[in-house]
């Protein structure tokens, strides 16, 4: 029988081609119709990103280093992290990667802000309802596993090449951790603490902002930390669709086999990642000062 031949009974060649064509055409029509609206929608975000990038590039480098060192101190309260931050920035500047680094800093900052602004409320909604959780979890799975190049196609078709599609690509990849860990953090809040809040007549808001979020903060912060790391990891791919920054020279190095150029810019990304990670992690740990010095239990 046909059934036992080695050939899978696949769809007809022409049918398949028509199907693909149909989808492509439909999406093209959609992007023609709404592409401009989308661009208008994202325009404020673009302006903010451009403004930040210009600001970072225009500021004298010693000012940037001082600000970075001050932020590192505020976040981590550790001299060694501050010194590490200063040395990394000095090295980056000395090896001629200052401007690209500033561009990368700008897009990382903006995409992290977007991820937090969308991700934390989404995580709160997920923690509140099993239904929402069961809908959003598979979406997050797709966002994290689908190859970045695949969702670059529709994004570029809609918005063309540039900073905004780059930003969106970064956010799609980087947002899931903060959503997941906000959800998890809130769900892990002790039942007793919540029951006490209820028994004393806390409203939904008082319960959320007074108990759930503060107690979930260490987890939420771990999520923010992961989001920043993943955003940095997307720098190279984002540069393929026109985002300036450290990814551009890396891309050039790949196509021309420039080992040194690739290594240097790659290491600059690593340096940024380590700084962000250490500062945000020790900030997250300091949020748990009530857990330190525990003598009992």
């Amino acid at each position: 029988m046909d059934f036992w031949t080695n050939k899978f009974p696949e769809m007809g060649r022409t049918d398949l081609r028509d199907l693909k064509k149909g989808i492509d055409a439909a999406f093209r029509d959609f992007s023609r119709a709404y592409g401009e609206n989308m661009e208008d929608f994202f325009h404020p975000l673009l302006q903010f990103l451009v403004w930040l990038e210009k600001l970072l590039l225009a500021a004298p480098w010693p000012v940037i280093i001082i600000i970075a060192a001050a932020l590192a101190w505020l976040g981590a309260r550790s001299i060694s992290i501050v010194i590490g931050t200063i040395l990394s920035f000095l090295a980056i500047g000395y090896f001629g990667m200052w401007e690209d680094t500033m561009s990368t800093l700008a897009i990382i900052s903006v995409s992290t802000l977007v991820c937090i602004a969308l991700g934390i409320p989404l995580g709160i909604l997920m923690a509140r309802s099993e239904r929402v959780q069961s809908i959003i979890t598979p979406v997050l799975d797709v966002m994290q596993t689908i190859p970045a190049f695949v969702y670059l196609i529709p994004v570029v078709m809609l918005l063309g090449i540039g900073k905004v599609p780059g930003l969106i690509a970064v956010c799609i990849y980087a947002m899931p951790p903060v959503v997941r860990l906000t959800n998890l953090g809130i769900r892990l809040v002790e039942k007793e603490a919540l029951e006490a809040a209820d028994a004393f007549g806390a409203s939904y808001k008082q319960r959320l902002f007074g108990v759930q979020i503060p107690l979930a903060l260490p987890n939420i912060f771990a999520g923010v930390n992961q989001t920043i790391m993943m955003a940095l990891a997307m720098v190279v791919i984002a540069s393929m669709i026109g985002v300036a920054g450290l990814g551009v020279p890396v891309l050039r190095a790949i196509s021309n086999q420039y080992l040194a150029l690739g290594m240097m810019n790659g290491l600059a990304i690593v340096a940024l990642a380590i700084i962000f990670d250490r500062v945000s992690q020790s900030f997250g740990n300091r949020l748990q000062r009530h857990r330190q010095g525990a003598q009992h239990d």
Binding site: E192, A193, E195, A196, A197, D198, A199, F200, G201, A202, S203, Q206, G210, V211, P214, L215, L217, R289, H290, R291, G293, A294, Q295, H296, D297
Partner: protein, 348 residues
């Protein structure tokens, strides 16, 4: 007696997918075991009727699984009943809407938990002030009050500590101060001292009794420990498998246990330290000039009565009137367990 503060009547709680249907079964005589095995529903509370008087400590006692923690959570509606009514000061708690219920919880009834339920991210002072902040009081006012209450429970100076830096007993003092700070008339205490070491537990019972002398709150106290119930309770209600077995005066329950279950509970207590002379005295007066107060426990009365010649003493009530008398014989009989088998078992 005093006026009723909380009136619970015909209260049922059934856990499961279709409580309404299961309720019909229970009302038709299906027992807890059968309901669980054949119908996959858990009978939490069954036809509870309980009147809790104002300004006293009412203890609800039972072993784990008896439904006592479920019952106390119905009073402030942390758990919704399947059927029945719950009136507090004549107001129907079950008819309250969301806002009214929040108001009730903020001002009328506060709660102390077995596992303390403190907020680990707040300092001790902030924890005590929590109910006040939730009520919408200003930070300054709340802080002053929390300081006052921390002093009352003996924790002055620990304001800026975090709960994790305190021992269990101290943490529960914080829990108690938090509940008292809201000035609610009703204090719900769910196995509040059960998680503490025996010595600390006695300590906390003293703290509570001491506070109650001034505060005269209506306290509903849940425990599995009969000694604790007898020590602090003005009234005791005993639950088993979600049913109310016996309720009333503690002394009465010791002398007249309603069934074997309660007999098992009371047979091992130290009767000399619990039973009061007023409970077992005879009404007629003796010629003795020695008087002892009616709430003196047998052990102490024995010390006095054994030294008198006639070996009998008069009993006086709180206003110094003679209400009866007790002899050495009666005291010794009172010390013995009520049943012969139990006595025989003692010497085996």
């Amino acid at each position: 007696m005093t006026d009723t503060k909380i009136a619970i009547s015909n209260l049922y709680k059934i856990f499961g997918r279709d409580p309404a249907n299961a309720l019909e079964l229970v009302k038709n005589g299906v027992g807890k075991q059968e309901l669980l095995e054949k119908h996959d529903h858990v009978l939490g509370l069954s036809d509870i009727n309980l009147e809790i008087p104002a300004k006293g400590i009412s203890v609800i006692m039972g072993l784990s699984g008896s439904g006592k923690s479920t019952l106390i959570r119905h009073i402030n509606r942390l758990i919704e009943p399947t059927a029945g009514s719950m009136m507090v000061d004549g107001d129907d708690v079950l008819a309250m809407n969301k806002e009214q219920l929040i108001d009730f919880r903020r001002h009328k009834a506060s709660m102390v938990f077995q596992k303390f339920g403190l907020h680990v991210h707040r300092t001790v002072a902030e924890n005590v002030a929590y109910g006040l902040i939730v009520q919408g009081q200003g930070k300054k006012e709340a802080k002053a009050k929390s300081h006052k209450w921390l002093e009352r429970v003996g924790l002055a100076g620990f304001e800026e500590h975090f709960p994790s830096q305190l021992s269990g007993g101290m943490q529960q003092r914080v829990g108690l101060a938090r509940a008292l700070a809201t000035d609610a008339e009703i204090l719900l205490m769910d196995e509040a001292f059960s998680a503490l070491d025996p010595l600390i537990r006695t300590d906390m019972q003293d703290v509570l009794l001491d506070l109650q002398k001034d505060l005269h709150k209506t306290i509903v106290f849940i425990t599995h420990d009969l000694d604790e119930a007898l020590r602090i309770g003005d009234r005791i209600a005993i639950l088993r498998d979600g049913q109310m077995i016996q309720q009333g005066d503690p002394q009465h329950i010791i002398i007249h246990p309603a069934d074997d279950y309660i007999f098992d509970f009371v047979k091992d207590i130290n009767r000399g330290r619990v039973l009061q002379v007023g409970t077992i005295m005879t009404k007629d007066q003796s010629r003795s000039t020695v008087t002892i107060p009616s709430d003196m426990v047998l052990e102490e009365a024995l010390q006095t009565v054994a030294t008198i010649d006639g070996q009998s003493a008069n009993i006086v009530n709180a206003s110094d009137q003679v209400v009866g008398s007790i002899s050495l014989d009666q005291i010794v009989k009172g010390l013995a367990r009520p049943e012969v088998e139990a006595q025989a078992g003692q010497y085996r």
